[in-house]
Amino acid sequence: MVAEYDRHTHWVTDFPAVEMTGVVKRFGETLALDGVDLSVPRGAVYGLLGPNGAGKTTSVRVLTTLIRPDSGTAKIDGIDVVADPDAVRRRIGLTGQYAAVDERLTARENLIYVGRLFHLGGAESKRRAGELLDRFDLADAADRVVKGFSGGMRRRLDIAMSLIANPSVLFLDEPTTGLDPRSRLQMWDVISDLAADGTTVLLTTQYLEEADRLAERIVVIDHGHVIAEGTPDELKSRTGGALLSVSIARAENRERAVSVLTPLCTGRVEHGDDDRSLVAPIVAGDRVVPGVIRALDAQGIDVLDVAVRRPSLDDVFLALTGHIATEEEAV
């Protein structure tokens, strides 16, 4: 029943690496998880995408044995998190939403410390620590106390600590929230490398761009519900096509432009960011741009710019939930 694992080769099992079935978790009045289903195959990188309070951290906490679900089951490599939490803990790495490093220790000491708690032994912990410090570009700072580290360095150390025992599944809860743009790009490289090495990763994020960039499949969660799942491309096509945006030369022509464009588009023509721009859904792939220019030109409306873009995940989120995914910083 229990999957065989050889640290140096691969898992030999048919179980999904991560599986949640009908998981419900309530905190008093709040229904944090309302029947979440999720399955991540081995070696895949999945993104759990949702706004503040969607239930991302709660899902991760259930999967990493930190809280018990009220009902439903959660399994790692086929092992139930409630029935055998210790076996699950030996297989997972967790980088939580809040940096879990001891600031008083050096980077190396932090790594060795966690290695020993994984019962790797002193010598092996030391060896792994050295390896990970190199790999995460922390070798120069290895023997400095973490208190003086930048946010990006802490996050890298945090992830390195989760990898010390070669986990089968790595959980990353909002790995780039609060990082500056440069550190975020660096973190993306780190995560892409992990994926290339075949580590199964479940990462949560509020950043649509991040899920698009890192995850091969995205699970969209809102109010404790999975509301959509698919590849980034599949999700994008859910909005039914592309988005046309037009800028005209003179604002007073806008209402006329709306009537000209309406028959060409698949939905309502909306006002754009300023009083000279318009946006509207169209069928993707149509040779719509020349038609738009011709129609407007025929009415004597001067066109500054016409663009067709594939919808961003923001648009997808809007289409799925009817509200915009908030991107405020988690506190």
Partner: protein
Amino acid sequence: MERLRWTLHDSWVEAERHLRVIPRNIELLIFATIQPIMFLALFAYVFGGSISIPGFADYDQFLMPGIFSQSLVFGSAFTSIGLAEDLSKGLVDRLRSLPMSRSAVIIGRTVSDLVRNLFTFVVMLVVAFVLGFRFRGSLLDAATATALLVLFSYALSWVQAVIGLAVSSVEAANSAGFIWMFPLTFVSSAFVDPSTMPGALEAVADANPFTVVTNAARALYNGLPVGNDAWWSLVWSVGLIAVFSTLATRRFSNSTSA
């Protein structure tokens, strides 16, 4: 057996984490040590002349064991602050996701605080000697007295662990860990004879476990008959550890970082 071995191993790894950083934060240690020394000197010089205790020719011999035990008890507050800190930093989530013993985190914390308190105690003892304090009983009596005080302090560390895990911030732990120690140590026999207190207060002071422990240590340091106080203080300490270690471990298993 295997389980016990790993619990000890994990506890030691945790204790080492805290012990390792003591020299890095030497200020903390210095101030933690200065405070009891200050108490020792202040009480001895300010009250020394005005208070006389029946049965003690010399107030210092009465007072100093009281200050020893008060300082050790105050030292236990490190435990609540330290645990609240780990909790506020997200470290507890990591630790709870590791295949390690549940109780090791708290055992490691209390043991490292014990080592720190022992250090403070030794410094305080040396200062007390300089100020004129002497063991009037045998060395074994003095060692027994010290052991009873240290054990009681360790037991209170477990009480502090429950507090540290129950409150939601380091600041709250700082207040919640300290506030009850004032009535605990002042409504007791540490500084004055409880029979001089108003009736209700005297009853409280007499029932206070801190009085029992202080009386036992004081009698042993002074070579006086200790009666059942030594046994009762042992019972109190072991009882507190039994109850509060269960509570703290349960609390830890259910807590998540803020």
